[in-house]
Symmetry: C2
Subunit: 215 residues, 2 copies
Amino acid sequence: MIRIILVDDHAVVRNGYRRLLDAEPGLQVVGEAGSADEANSLILHTEADVALVDLSLRGSSGIEAIRGMLLRQPKLKILVLSMHDGASHITQALRSGALGYLTKYCEPADVIDGIRRIACGKRVFSPEIAQVLAEEAIDGDGALAHLTPREFEVLRMLAHGESAIRIASSMHVSPKTVLNYLSLIRQKLDADSDFKLLHLAARHGLVDIHHALGA
Amino acid sequence: MIRIILVDDHAVVRNGYRRLLDAEPGLQVVGEAGSADEANSLILHTEADVALVDLSLRGSSGIEAIRGMLLRQPKLKILVLSMHDGASHITQALRSGALGYLTKYCEPADVIDGIRRIACGKRVFSPEIAQVLAEEAIDGDGALAHLTPREFEVLRMLAHGESAIRIASSMHVSPKTVLNYLSLIRQKLDADSDFKLLHLAARHGLVDIHHALGA
DNA sequence: GAAAATCCGGGAAAAACTCCCGGTTTGCCG
DNA sequence: CGGCAAACCGGGAGTTTTTCCCGGATTTTC
């Protein structure tokens, strides 16, 4: 019997999964959490084999939930179920210890199959996710990798809408230095437009698009 | 008895709502659709009072589903249930004929209550949504409103990452003209940074953030 | 320790942007 | 029909930003 806990901030979605999974022989939902905090406390007094977690929790991120749960229960197998197929979400989740990643568009049967395979320690990915991972691999770590820490910092602040001058004073350096960094960044990232810069920053999780751009 | 149809591309979510609503006295789910096309054909051979629709359908948009269904069944009351609280989504949905708009973060009880009120012809909004609508109202139609069609076009292309020169050739005008437009746009929108420009463009639906930025 | 990379900023040329201008076209209203 | 306002289009000059080059100080790496 595979014991499952659900981490998702939509009660209705949790209900749907509970109903789906409990109906399946060999699977049993033993707990639900609506936030990272709830997940962390749940894991302490529940014996679970697999956690199904949604990345976009309210308040805290699903990433936190993953880290917290693994800290308390290292043998837990984590399968991410997310709406998002952006590179940053995927790599962050995997680096945090998730074993698999499915988009919410996959069929219920795929989820069930995925859970069974995750429980055996296998990795599970939706086709779209595998695609994104492949592209990332080809990119060779992603373009942002060759940025120096300082350059990275500048880019992050820029993506948050700060002006060069504000960045400079915040970093306690001359505005000229920041401008020089920006020049280098544009060059390294092959970004001819500010849009492209923002694009790359967003893809790599430097800025929370949904919050920052309000979409 | 209020007859309800569910439009959402996640089978599990539909299941969750069906379970939730059928358990409620006076409510009954009479059909489900996973896409705008399915919704349109479903509405033809089903008598429904209320449609619960998710905006982010795969392929087609939920907006299309709303328009299609209202075309075939003008008396249908539509309640949008969406993850997104961006101004563009909300106004588009309402302009397309939706009567209410709830975020998926609200409680199941709120959804049930919302359905009952929508069925009576009342409008229903989550607090966050009401907030956004209020801000829009204060903005006075949104800053983008004073842009001329041509300026709007330039902004849209810019938001898609095109350079000024490419925009110019695409519009069959001189690059200088495009630069002048850009100048005006920045002025009208009070945007001191390109980031702010993108921010505004995104909020008003000129660019699909999730797709364009791959997040 | 030496070598390499990073951090930091100056200066000058090049590119981009702003602001102002005038001409043309379009649509509206007295 | 004759203004008239708004939008469309682009030139020119001045200002600002960006780029590209430089060299020295500091840190990391082998």
